[in-house]
Symmetry: C2
Subunit: 446 residues, 2 copies
């Protein structure tokens, strides 16, 4: 625990930051994050999780200020932040900060765009606030470290609430003291248990964080006071929710090194630590013309974290299958794909996949990185095929291109928006930096 | 950590419970808790903390379903739960479960009454659900124990969210499985840092818990799924937010022993652990006709927890003064009272009180209980007067009578409601058990 004024320094940095201080690659990354997030929200907006949540809260929602992405209804900005964060995470297709396994944009962008629809916010202001919010989320995640996650916290929501507060506070024009207060309110709102993975409540964690972070900024703007040392105080967030947190990591090299550049976009809608295994299976299947019916054994050698998170050998539904290496292997080898369709309930209960899942053996090896995997497949004729993946598709070592992101967006939006509206939304996105009102993006995705 | 299905057992007990299963003293306690809570909400409803919070969220509030107690406005039930919980706690005058220092009713009753205004709930149903919600809050508090509080959690909100979910779930008619799901959603919403004591955000913790608990019940009613073992799972609430939690304490003797009977009502609007010291000062002042100007030294011997929470020798404002033994001593000796007026900003900055606070010396003694104190006053003439308090007024050993509670209610309501309306509200309260619609109580307090 440090005595330095971490919260105040972070607040001051954020309020002082100018768009031209943000390096071009970070600016570009904010734009990519926006597109990926919007696509995920459209792809997920009709999920049963979203329907039930909206059904539970709609009678209590305020005036129709903000778009529920992909839906006909509108809601007050706090409710829209809640719903859109859930929509954009429910497919497990949103972005990931590799070092912390945080999915930052769902929380931050959902709070920010909902607020932006209540007041005129330019595309540039939006991208700037988004970058700052994501950066803060990932940095606080670095500070609490993997021990926080291992203890049982759902790091995306516990850290994301700060990012949402910062992004919203930035466009609200909070001064440094107010921003510091917003961090205090966010700290005392931080919640989310990792054990909810595999149930609807996992996504609710993100929605709750988006709404709480936005609330924190709104409250701070009205002079609501919180602790000014919420992160670093002896009984502050870093001490209470983490063991041996690296507090200075929050502000170390702030403005110089950008964690946001290490945010990756998923090619597959499942746990990011499974992706290298899927790459290997898809490639082996093509390289050796493998027929899944002939597979007798699949050995997947992965990082220990991958095993910890995704060892479930027999997922019972689509939700659980997204955190199952065995299911991902079975589906990839059978279908030659690992898209939204491969993680639906009906696919999970397919007898052929159930049988193939039982042939998957997991081995952990700390020498294998989280973006890496080695897969060895044995066929009925006794032949064996092995492939090592050094950098999973979509990972830092092999990022998705802009074209791949646009293609992903089109795929996700296709069931929800007409082709003309998809083109219109992409057109708004492509000129986002010069757009006078980012609300246009939300309305294009309604 | 235990393997027993604590969450499921708690959910089943709550859903099975009938009003006639609740012992008469507990029924009566639920009624007393309601009156004390309502008075506190009326007394606090015009506090700047409430004004700023309402100012921040009013533009986002939904339809006027539920009363903001003591105010002219209405809001959707979730927002009303938020605001009313803050109103009822802001004076630090609400009730306390002595063993855990939880203030249960502000969270539970605020969620419950707001929901009751959206659907017809009888007075008996209200009292029943309130008793169950308070009981669950205190029992979960016992399970996490003092270590949870010492670690830095604000136990009233972290445990209160469960009570709010249970109370709301009970009147929503959740079945045992849905109730279990509501506990899961509540667990992942549990938040609140103790370091916020002394800032506006302390009260926000309670509001957030009331709103989140109500949300959890509403979501569970719509089939939103959470973990069924949210309390006891290896990475569940009891493990993540506490060290060595006594899980079985949640359900041990459930329905036999009622923690709710150990909920106390405050005669003074400040930290409950200071009350015995105030009793001693007020009594010494009268017994020895003490003139505060003649006091040269005050020794207060108290429980170590009292020191830990309330050692602040120089509070800067009313909020901080509520957790200052020194200020309470100075005000009680000077004014012969410790009411709302003694904890206002202007009283805290009074030079005479500032001077007297500096003469207060604190000594901790583990042999002195939390409801006890020994105070020794030295006067300018060298005389010394000592008094030991065995049971503070309002504590378990010396509970406030119904008449004292009614008097406290009248005092708190007097600045907000007309005398006729105060009488009307008391009349509704006095026949609450036979009242067909508890919403009458809310409307009487509008």
């Amino acid at each position: 625990m440090t005595e330095a004024a971490i919260s105040a320094a972070l607040a001051r940095y954020v309020t002082d930051s100018q768009w031209h201080d943000v390096p071009a690659p970070v600016q570009h990354q904010a734009s990519r994050a926006t597109l990926n997030w919007l696509g995920c929200a459209l792809g997920g907006c009709r999920d049963e999780t979203v329907n039930r949540l909206w059904d539970a809260v709609r009678d209590f929602a305020g005036p129709p200020q903000a778009t529920l992405l992909g839906r006909a209804e509108k809601a007050d900005a706090l409710t829209a932040a809640l719903i859109n964060a859930v929509s954009s995470n429910v497919l497990d297709f949103d972005d990931t900060h590799i070092a912390t396994v945080i999915h930052p944009t769902a929380v931050v962008a959902s709070a920010l765009l909902a607020l932006a629809e209540c007041r005129r916010v330019s595309g540039q202001e939006f991208l700037h606030a988004l970058a700052l919010g994501i950066e803060a989320t990932c940095r606080i995640g670095n500070a609490v470290g993997l021990a926080h996650y291992e203890k049982g916290w759902y790091i995306t929501s516990t850290c994301g609430v700060f990012g949402a507060a910062i992004a919203a506070g930035k466009v609200l024009g909070l001064d440094a003291q107010q921003m510091n207060g917003a961090l205090g309110i966010a700290a005392t709102s931080a919640s989310g248990l990792r054990m909810m993975l595999g149930s609807m409540t996992k996504c609710y964690n993100l929605g709750n964080a988006a709404k709480s972070g936005l609330s924190a900024a709104l409250m701070a703007a009205k002079g609501f006071t919180g602790s000014a040392r919420a992160l670093e105080a002896p009984r502050g967030f870093l001490s209470v929710l983490a063991e041996d947190a690296d507090g200075p990591a929050v502000t170390r090299g702030l403005g110089q090194r950008w964690e946001m550049l290490d945010v990756a976009y998923k090619p597959y809608p499942c746990g990011v630590v499974i992706h290298a295994v899927i790459d290997a299976c898809l490639d082996l299947r093509v390289l050796h013309a493998i027929n899944a019916a002939q597979v007798t054994r699949v050995e997947a050698m992965v990082n220990p974290l991958t095993i910890m998170l995704c060892k479930n050998p027999a997922p019972r539904d689509g939700l659980e299958s997204k955190l199952s290496i065995a299911h991902s292997v079975a589906a990839a080898l059978t279908d030659g794909a690992a898209g939204v369709a491969q993680y639906l309930d009906e696919r999970v209960s397919d007898p052929a996949l159930v049988a193939l899942r039982k042939k998957v053996v997991l081995c952990e090896d700390p020498a294998i990185g989280k973006e890496q995997a080695r897969v060895n497949i044995t066929l009925a004729d006794g032949s064996r095929h092995e492939l090592s993946v050094e950098h999973a598709r979509g990972s830092g070592g092999r990022p998705l291109s802009d074209a791949e992101l646009i293609s992903k967006f089109r795929g996700l939006a296709s069931g929800v928006l007409s082709p003309a509206r998809i083109d219109a939304a992409l057109a708004v996105w492509q000129s986002l930096e010069t757009c006078a009102d980012v609300g246009e993006l939300a309305r294009a995705a309604a």
